[in-house]
Amino acid sequence: MNWLTDFVRPKIKKTAPIEIADNLWLKCPDCGQMLFSKELKKSMYVCTRCGHHLRLFIDKRLKMLFDNGEYSEIALPHLKEDPLKFKDSKKYTDRLKSYRKSTGSEDAVRVAKGEIGGITTIVAAIDFAFMGGSMGMAVGEGIVKAAEICLKGNYPLVTVAASGGARMQEGILSLMQMARTTAAINQLKEKGIPFVSVLTDPTTGGVSASFAMLGDVNIAEKGCLIGFAGPRVIEQTIREKLPEGFQRAEYLREHGMVDIVVTRQEMKDALVRVLSILTHVKPRINTLALENK
């Protein structure tokens, strides 16, 4: 039953990225500016007027992190689907089907292998577009498998969180992913393998309260929401007025919960620096200077 003994060499696959068309107008959720999709793609989906970071497509995210945008994706083992036979207004299996169709992903996690600044790295990224990036068995398995590959190959691990929390439709099994992913991360830590947690918009609930907060280094993307309870839950249950900038990346840094807050343009450089220093490898590309704003 040891998870290392039944290790199967992962299949490598490539998927066609899903992206929006070039000729669309999108409204900045922050300042309301109408933005042309072609321009947004150039700016890495950062509002050209106010600098707001829009949520990024998972394929864009992966491309952005790896050298030359090149990576191979690792196929994840299939687990028993819908273990609870969950149904609210809709069957969980039907929800899964429609998200698979709209995102082209099996579930809310993608695991990829590639080079970051010449350093072979495993990235496990959560796709917010798939059921709000909620963590059930499949997402947990993605993190566990990613850590397993890192352990075998001595590769650093980078997780990219974008999740509202646990996947309710998988009940207690979704809660257990907090312990599962933490157990997986623990193994890397004990072997001295670097684990960098990248937090993006949003990182809350069961994901923030497990692996995403446990990075050797936590890097947050500018302005992203990070917290345990969502702001609406806090407002409703406690009836407290939320302070300005509450639960934003900068607030978390001020309160000592993340190490550095970077813009999307700086993210890759920050990763290269951190990974190269922790692995004692000179990076193959030059990085820009970083300052904690």
Binding site: I172, L214, A229, F246
Partner: protein, 324 residues
């Protein structure tokens, strides 16, 4: 703590409580008037047992959630008072504050030195306010980590009594890093080289519960519940309505029996007929016995092996689910 006249009556317990009141009334009458009513009392007691069996044989998940939250149900401190000798309460996270919700300390359990952790909810309004309704703050989870380090250092098994609706969702808790505190508490549970046994004695409320329940053995009282989200919150999020709590409780599969089925917990501890709140002392003794049984199994295990198998247990969890 005993079922008195002011205690909460659950919907499905109404007829039971009526018979209980009748018996009490008759006993009082017998004392005052010095008449023999033993025949009537035993007839009523038989009726009571029958009704208890009837009601408790088929509790729905929502009814179990209500039993799990019954204010007379024994709580963490009740277990500590009854099961732990020479208990020394220990306070503080050494960083910010002491969280009264997270009960922590050292003592002897059946002669063995242990660390004890758990959330206290309080039995009445005053104590509920004192214990913040069982919702711990980051300093509570950091106190728990401190206790687990102490356990690791002095080779003390850790006994956790889990009873919380969830971790506290407030501005101050967020400011001090509730997410990090829970994450690190889970990490600590998995790291220590000493046995850790967690018992869900009432409510196993999501992240606030698993923070002290990533254990070698997870035990659950028969009518406790353990869930990723409360039926109330689930109803309002997924059904966009506050009156689908029964459906939500059903769908979430949050009973001890469900969790045993999924291989998430190791053992269900039976409750006395009519629930733990009808016989707190009997419940506590039974819980103590089952914890002791598991502790005796874990104590001889090599410490490295213990930690390894705890890690493996969680990594494997859910990978091989039984067919329904």
């Amino acid at each position: 703590m005993s079922s008195n006249n002011n205690s909460l009556v659950l919907d499905f317990e109404k007829t039971i409580v009526e018979v209980e009141a009748k018996i009490e009334g008759l006993k009082k009458l017998a004392e005052e008037e010095d008449v023999d009513i033993s025949g009537e009392v035993s007839r009523l007691q038989e009726k009571l047992q029958k009704q208890l069996r009837l009601a408790y044989a088929n509790l729905s998940p929502w009814q179990k959630a209500q039993v799990a939250r019954h204010p007379d149900r024994p709580q963490c401190l009740d277990y500590i008072h009854a099961l732990i000798e020479d208990f020394v309460p220990l306070a503080g996270d050494r960083a910010f504050a002491d969280d009264p919700t997270m009960i922590a300390g050292i003592g002897r359990f059946k002669g063995i030195s242990v660390v004890v952790l758990g959330q206290e909810k309080g039995h009445d309004l005053e104590s509920r306010i004192k214990y913040n309704f069982g919702m711990a703050k980051p300093e509570g989870y950091r106190k728990a980590q401190r206790m687990m380090s102490l356990a690791d250092k002095f080779n003390l098994p850790v006994l956790c009594f889990v009873d919380t609706d969830g971790a506290y969702p407030g501005v101050d808790a967020e400011a001090r890093g509730q997410a990090e505190a829970i994450a690190s508490s889970i990490e600590k549970c998995l790291k220590i080289k000493t046995p850790i046994i967690s018992t869900i004695i009432g409510m196993g409320g999501s992240g606030g519960a698993i923070a002290i329940a990533a254990a070698d053995r997870i035990l659950m009282l028969e009518n406790s519940i353990y869930s990723v989200i409360s039926p109330e919150a689930c109803s309002s999020i997924l059904w966009r309505s506050t009156d689908k709590v029964k459906e939500a409780a059903e769908a979430l599969r949050l009973t001890a029996q469900d969790l045993k089925h999924f291989g998430v917990i190791d053992e269900i501890i039976p409750e006395p007929l009519g629930g733990a709140h009808r016989d707190p002392q009997g419940t506590i003794e039974k819980v103590g016995d089952v914890i002791f049984k598991h502790l005796k199994e874990l104590l001889p295990v090599n410490t490295e092996e213990l930690k390894k198998s705890r890690t493996a247990k969680f990594l494997e969890m859910g990978r091989h689910l039984p067919e329904n």
